[in-house]
Amino acid sequence: MLRYRRSSPGTQPELLHPPYVSSIKRAPTQPLIQLPHTLSETTGPSFSKEVVPPKGFDLTRQHKGEPLGERIVVSGRLMDEDGRPVAHSLVEIWQANAAGRYLHKVDQHDAPLDPNFTGMGQALTDAEGRYRFVTIRPGAYPWRNHYNAWRPRHIHFSVFGPAFATRLVTQMYFPGDPLLEFDPIYNSVPVESARKRLISNFDWATTAPEIALGFRFDIVLRGRNATPMER
């Protein structure tokens, strides 16, 4: 029977992380119950080319004009902990515009919206698990978690992988961002080496000459457990 490995201690955020104030009234207080991995957890939705907009990977071409800001290429591989590529799997992203403003009614930050930028993207990984987006570098923005709180620049990533058990939503950060040190969401991951996996790398190889800087962000999903039942 297929099972997925549990994460090592400290490599995933705790649900209750008081410096992130919103977690205080929303994190469950009772201990989680370990769910065995049955067919319900080891299967999951699979999205086809027909579902995913073919131009969903390019966030700079969703409107009549081009968005303002620094054009970037964000690419990487979706793999599992054993190095297997996760092929033909849905990746969704969303982000603020270059001024640090989201196209969302709740976002009241006094920074301009960009009529040429929505900030949503979708792509399927290829047979080797690779994905690629063209977008603009999102701006930092203030939030009300604590005095003078600013979120580091980030792009939200949602990935499914092969099973309900592998579902992951995360955020990609940029190298050298001075705000990371102060960000309670980034710092909710206790182990530093795990936290740093959230930071993309500048990538010369995917930098498009005269067009856009490249950033590489590999996403690793849970590996599988071989079980004694297997023969």
């Binding site: 490599t11 705790e14 119950i33 370990q34 065995p36 999951g44 086809s48 590999d218």
Partner: protein, 189 residues
């Protein structure tokens, strides 16, 4: 080896920008078999306040207890009919509602049948990882033997079982309480 898995981060308050394109309120619009049910409820935080910025993802088997799986990765997913996945947001009042079919029984550990259930992920601002829970159906004869329900302390099992409306038994009510006396059971998946 690629090393260990990427940490989770919250979806934050603005996830609808990126996730709403897959919202649906009917998970089985063209299903030819199965008992249609509407499931509705609210999500409540530790102060009993409704959560208007949450999103559920549902994964379920069809009426025969089969999960839709791609035969190969290039295969078209069903354009209509049963797919088994749905993404459902809460509204400004913290309420959600969706229609689906009651799934059949799927095999559990050692091949023993599980009671019909929906797998549910919960996402919202404030949650650094998704929450995982299950919804079971009221008065199902398989509930008492279900392996997963039996892992849950008896006094908390009711939080996983939806309640039929007296005036319309095909509408089930199921609230998600993040904290408090009747905190919903959540699982480490």
């Amino acid at each position: 080896m690629s090393g260990e898995s990427t940490p989770s981060q919250t979806v934050g308050p603005y996830f609808s920008i990126g996730l709403a394109w897959l919202n649906r309120c009917d998970l089985a619009p063209g299903a030819s078999s199965g008992e249609r049910v509407t499931i509705r409820g609210r999500i409540l935080d530790g102060e009993g306040q409704s959560v208007p910025d949450a999103c559920l993802e549902i994964w379920q088997a069809d009426a025969h207890g089969r999960y839709v799986q791609p035969v190969n990765s290039e295969e078209k997913s069903p354009a209509h009919g049963f797919f088994g996945f749905g993404r459902v947001p809460t509204n400004d009042r913290g309420e959600f509602s969706f229609t689906t079919i009651k799934p059949g029984s799927v095999p559990g550990l050692d091949g023993r049948p599980q009671a019909p259930h929906l797998e549910i992920s919960v996402f919202m601002r404030g949650l650094l990882r998704r929450l995982v829970t299950r919804l079971y159906f009221p008065n199902d004869p398989e509930n008492p033997e279900d392996q997963v329900l039996n892992l849950v302390p008896a006094g908390r099992r009711a939080t996983l079982i939806a309640r039929p409306l007296a005036e319309d038994p095909r509408t089930l009510e199921w609230d998600i309480r993040l904290q408090g006396e009747h905190e919903t059971v959540f699982f480490e998946c």
